[in-house]
């Protein structure tokens, strides 16, 4: 995405509802042709961002640039932007074909062209042959597809999706995630997807913006967001995370430090300069932790001692809850391997926890930015 051009740009957007300020000086660039996801807990302002782009809300101040033209004052019906609503918002009194063709009809496109484009759009969402059905005769997944077809038939510059998959059951949702991604790639339309589901965000997006309390927390590829969270909010919100609090004791090399975690010294790499004495969080994903028998602990390697609290089999992995002697609780997730005798621990068994140097991620402690 390095050479991509900025298609949509929000600049210093301020938006409040009554006395409650939702966005203050919010800025965001979205590239042409990317699948962009805004991820955050409910009430973080993500839906407001979407509604501002769609034109359903007006910003108190700030600019919304689409192709370098300010559209902040353009009414929703004149923006080259379409929305897939969370509730689908299909017109109940119209057939599938009438729903999909609605926007074209409003734009006074000829009947023959409407028919052809509706058929194409329905083919994209794999609903050919459903033209004459009414929305109440469709399943949730089919309604979802009609809502997508109704938006893509307009060939918008930006397609907005508001928690569009949240009403579907797990299996269907996963299938739709794949299909959405395929549709996006096929049509080359810029997608802006809003969700509170981190798994959805990671699996579909080119880039993800994590938001909290109206503030952008981190923007980056799903991999960056997951493996290198910039602060504790992002680390906590995306997946499971184990946190070790420590103090920088020495600088070994450039961006390599010795961190003292409650008496245990670990070498940790950082992505930014730290000073000796800085308080840091050393973060590890459950799948990056290693659990070992006490007797296997090498004399020269330091690790954390604890005992197994709980074990649970999830099919793909075995998850272990470990109470450390320093009072922390860790969660480790290991791929199941019947041939590995080391893999068998019983509850209350004392174990030794470590990780491969370099798999950790370090952030500065202190208040969230």
């Amino acid at each position: 995405m390095a050479d991509a051009e900025v298609l949509l740009s929000l600049r210093k957007i301020v938006k409040g509802f009554g006395s409650q300020k939702v966005l203050s000086e919010f800025s965001l660039d979205i590239f042409d042709g990317e699948f962009f996801t805004i991820l955050g807990p409910s009430g973080c302002g993500k839906t407001t961002v979407l509604r501002l782009i769609a034109g359903f809300e007006q910003a108190d101040s700030g600019q919304i640039l689409l192709d370098d033209a300010d559209i902040a004052a353009v009414a929703a019906e004149h923006r080259p932007v379409n929305t897939v609503f969370q509730s689908y918002a299909l017109f109940p009194h119209m057939s599938v074909a009438e729903n999909v063709g609605f926007g074209l009809r409003m734009a006074a496109v000829t009947k023959a062209e409407i028919k052809q484009r509706v058929a194409e759009a329905l083919a994209v969402v794999k609903l050919s042959g459903f033209e004459s059905r009414k929305p109440h005769q469709l399943s949730g997944g089919q309604k979802q597809r009609v809502a997508i077809a109704r938006a893509i038939v307009m060939k918008p510059k930006v397609l907005l999706l508001d928690e569009s998959l949240s009403a579907l059951d797990h299996k269907l949702r996963q299938q739709m995630q794949m299909e959405l991604k395929q549709i996006q790639r096929k049509l080359g339309i810029t997608f802006v997807y809003v969700t509170h589901d981190q798994e959805e965000a990671l699996s579909m997006s080119d880039r993800v913006l994590v938001m909290n309390h109206g503030q952008p927390q981190q923007i980056g590829s799903p991999r960056e967001i997951y493996e290198a969270p910039r602060n504790m909010f992002v680390a906590d919100f995306i997946g499971e995370i184990n946190v070790f609090d420590g103090v920088v004791e020495a600088e070994n090399d450039e961006l390599s430090y010795t961190v003292n975690i409650g008496g245990v010294k670990k070498v940790a790499g950082a992505e930014f300069r730290l000073e000796v004495g800085d308080e840091v969080h050393v973060l590890l994903r459950p799948e990056d932790l290693r659990i070992e028998y006490i007797e296997d602990q090498p004399k020269d390697e330091q690790g954390f001692l604890g005992k197994v609290l709980e074990r649970s089999y999830t099919g793909k992995t075995i998850d272990t809850l470990i109470a450390l002697e320093n009072g922390n609780t860790l969660r480790a997730s290991e791929f199941f391997n019947e041939d590995d005798p080391d893999f068998d621990y019983s509850i209350n068994q004392r174990v030794w926890v470590s990780w491969i140097d370099g798999w950790e991620h370090v952030i500065k402690a202190g208040p969230l930015e």
Binding site: A54, G55, F56, A75, A76, E77, H78, V81, N82, T83, F85, S87, Y88, A89, L90, F91, P92, H93, F102, G103, M106, A107, K134, P135, H136, Q137, K143, R150, A151, M154
Partner: protein, 294 residues
């Protein structure tokens, strides 16, 4: 539950059903049976209605003069219904858009006058519209007109009276329709490029059609029978069907004819209600209004 308890419940249920059925028999079915019977009897100035059975009453209903009354009545009621719809539709829309507390206040404000007897309120309209009424006093007093305008005892007055009495019956079903109309749908139509007029014609109007049909029927049907409104405000010329019936009973004392006329009116209303049910079923099937997403 013990056997005894079950028996008690059963007897309580029987009591309730008996009471309800008894009330219905006494207050609804018996009077209607009497009216139906009377409509087939022979008029008699002394005993009101006597044997033998005859179709004279219904023959009188078919006299041309009553066609005129019928159509005039239909016309007045139709105009009143249309006016109610024109006033009630935006009113219901605004009501439905309010936060719950504001809606409750506005509904109460609308309903409060209706706790007063409608006859008394019709007298009040008479005072307002009269030659020396409030409106004419203001118009003459401010010099806008020289002579008071004749408003009372005209079609206009009857329509004002009907609209005033019947407006809430238009607003309530419309409001229910607007409440069901999800904001997502109007936003979706806006999103797809529909301007205000297109949104109204293609989305709002079809989806509030059930409310429009229900409201029109609930206003139109009673409007034809509101004899006191025509009596007080309409003068001799602007009769409603209700006036004809009232006059047959109280003035002409031709009870069989009055009864025959009542039965005719009831049958017509039933026919319209039946049409309503058909139309409603059609609209719902068209609109898929039973859809959970609405």
């Amino acid at each position: 539950m013990t056997k005894n308890g079950l028996a008690n419940v059963l007897s309580f249920r029987q009591l309730v059903i008996t009471l309800t059925l008894g009330w219905l028999m006494l207050m609804v079915i018996a009077p209607h049976a009497l009216v139906i019977m009377t409509s087939f009897m022979t008029p008699d100035s002394e005993h009101l209605a006597v044997w033998p059975l005859t179709l004279q009453g219904y023959q009188k209903v078919l006299q041309p003069i009553y066609f005129d009354v019928f159509f005039h009545s239909l016309w007045l009621s139709a105009i009143a219904t249309v006016v109610c719809l024109i006033i009630g539709y935006p009113f219901a829309y605004i009501l439905a858009k309010q936060p719950p507390w504001a809606r409750a206040v506005m509904l109460v404000l609308m309903m409060v006058p209706f706790w007063t007897n409608s006859l008394i309120r019709t007298y009040a309209i008479k005072l307002i519209l009269g030659k020396k009424g409030v409106i004419n006093s203001v118009l003459v007093g401010t010099g806008i007109v020289d002579q008071p305008i004749t408003m009372l005892y005209t079609e206009f007055a009857v329509i004002v009276g009907l609209v005033y009495v019947l407006l809430p019956f238009m607003v309530l079903p419309l409001m229910a329709s607007f409440e069901k109309l999800s904001a997502d749908l109007t936003e979706a139509s806006k999103d797809l490029g529909a301007n205000a007029l297109q949104r109204f014609v293609h989305v709002v109007l079809p989806l509030t059609a059930p409310g429009i049909i229900a409201g029109c029927l609930i206003v139109f049907l009673p409007a034809m029978g509101m004899f006191y409104v025509a009596d007080l405000l309409g003068g001799a010329k602007n009769l409603l069907l209700g006036n004809v019936i009232k006059n047959q009973f109280l003035v002409v004392r031709d009870w069989p004819f009055g009864s025959a006329f009542s039965i005719t009116l009831i049958v017509m209303m039933a026919a319209m209600l039946w049409l309503y049910v058909i139309a409603n079923r059609f609209v719902q099937r068209q609109g898929g209004l039973d859809d959970e997403n609405l």
